[in-house]
């Protein structure tokens, strides 16, 4: 089993449609130290796809996406720079 790094920041974007979860992530990722993890909580299916795509475009790292018990995902992103 892989170890999940404890997020330094959790962004609650549940109930919000894309692109809002991505906008929130872009706004707040620099609030955590380098190499720290931000967790985006989202239930828009577009976010499940678009957060990793944003990471690829912005050269941050998509660590993993974990299903939430109440629906949606915790999408973990590591700040790379």
């Amino acid at each position: 089993m892989t170890e999940v790094t404890q997020p330094a920041l959790t962004i609650d974007a549940l109930g919000k449609k894309c692109p809002i979860p991505i906008i929130m992530l872009a706004e707040q990722i620099n609030a955590v130290p380098l190499n720290a993890v931000v967790a985006v909580l989202a239930d828009d299916p577009a976010a499940y796809n678009d957060v990793p795509a944003w990471c690829r475009l912005k050269s941050h790292r998509h660590v993993g996406s974990y299903e939430l018990p109440g629906g949606g995902w915790a999408i973990h992103v590591r700040r790379n720079y």
């Binding site: 894309c18 692109p19 872009a26 299916p45 796809n49 678009d50 795509a53 944003w54």
Partner: protein, 377 residues
């Protein structure tokens, strides 16, 4: 209004309009009957069949007309699976096929069949080796691959897929909806489907071509029309118009499609320089001549479509907010590219450089304003 949504529907070709008006007067009778008007309708229908067959690289007796491209795909997929029941019940499709293929596959699965979906890379192209490995499964009854993707334009490796299918004795259904009439149909298919309104014909005409020797059996109730492949009375005037449009479009294709492709290149090259945080999607070279798609970060796709409509541009989007399902496009998802802020530009015959330049002129300010309104700095 600049109409940039040819991938949804190409405007009616003037020669199709002319043919349609003429055929409405003389082609209304039942082509299966034996009196004068019926013989005339029959003649028109068979002439159209011969022309369409020639343009698609088929024999006339292999061509059946359907009520739409979607119906051609449904009948083609399920009829071939039905005809090959004894060979097996396994179906191979790419992840980026048109929804008509994927919906037929779902029905096959609900009916106890199996389906393997072959994924794509970032450009939306199927890996030929992966596709070949999938069709090697011994109980494979059918494989499906589009000529070009309808949302991002990327061409698929049909020739390689056809070679693999031939090696394993598996028929290949090729969905040529986006390229028929624009570029030559690649060789090697067993079943071919297309849609007339995508090449400048009227809506309500699809084409299902079943290569001689391919086992095929309609899964629908028995009907003697269209070689027992398609039930119901043919729309002869629309079929005549569809054939006229295909003939006209194919005749001017070499020149016109090269011109549209150069305009698409201009959009592909220019957009990343004038709009910050944008991703141009799909293969830049191996692509359909008329389609280009890009996604703008932090932009709501519906808002952008609305603004573009107001500015006089008809375009389409794969973003979820623009779909009735509220799910993003399965094509963009399979590619792993941004699904929000998505715009598909697909150029019809006659689209002008001036229109494209005007589009490139208004786009940056519209994107900037939408981002500003959303609080993106």
């Amino acid at each position: 209004m600049a109409y940039f949504d040819a991938a949804s529907s190409e405007p009616l070709h003037p020669q199709a309009r002319e043919a349609l008006l003429a055929a409405i007067d003389v082609g209304w009778a039942d082509p299966a009957r034996l009196y004068g008007q019926a013989r005339r309708a029959h003649l028109l229908l068979e002439q159209a069949r011969t022309e369409v067959a020639e343009a698609l690289g088929a024999r006339a007796d292999e061509v059946s007309f359907t009520a739409s491209g979607t119906q051609a795909v449904h009948l083609g997929v399920l009829g071939t699976l039905h005809g090959r029941r004894r060979a097996g019940r396994h179906l191979v499709v790419s992840a980026v096929e048109h929804s008509s293929v994927l919906h037929a596959a779902q029905l096959h699965e609900r009916d106890g069949g199996t389906v393997e979906t072959v994924g794509v890379g970032l450009t939306g192209r199927v890996d030929p080796a992966t596709f070949a490995a999938a069709v090697a499964r011994p109980d494979t009854a059918l494989a499906c691959l589009q000529t070009a993707n309808h949302e991002v334009g990327t061409l698929q490796p049909v020739a390689e897929a056809a070679a693999a299918c031939r090696e394993h004795g598996v028929p290949l259904l090729v969905d040529a909806a986006q390229t028929a009439g624009r570029v030559p149909v690649p060789a090697g298919w067993s079943v071919l489907t297309a849609s007339a309104h995508k090449w400048g014909g009227p809506a309500g005409v699809g084409v299902l071509v079943v290569r001689k020797g391919t086992r095929f059996r309609s899964f629908l109730p028995e009907d003697e029309r269209e070689r027992r492949r398609v039930p119901g009375f043919e729309n002869v005037p629309a079929i005549v118009a569809a054939a006229a449009a295909l003939r006209a479009t194919a005749a001017e294709a070499a020149e016109e499609q090269a011109r549209l492709s150069a305009l698409v290149d201009r959009i592909r090259r220019t957009v990343p320089g004038i709009v910050p945080d944008v991703e141009v999607i799909g293969d830049p070279v191996d692509r359909a001549p008329h389609i280009v798609t890009f996604s703008c970060l932090y932009v709501d796709g519906e808002a952008l479509l609305t603004e573009l409509d107001r500015a006089g541009f008809a375009v389409s989007s794969g973003s979820s907010c623009t779909a009735s399902t509220l799910r993003p496009s399965h094509v963009l998802e399979a590619m792993g590219v941004l699904t929000h802020g998505n715009v598909r530009v697909s150029l019809p015959r006659g689209a002008s450089a001036a229109e494209v330049d005007r589009f490139l002129g208004v786009l940056p300010e519209l994107v900037r304003r939408i981002r500003q309104d959303a609080g993106v700095t």
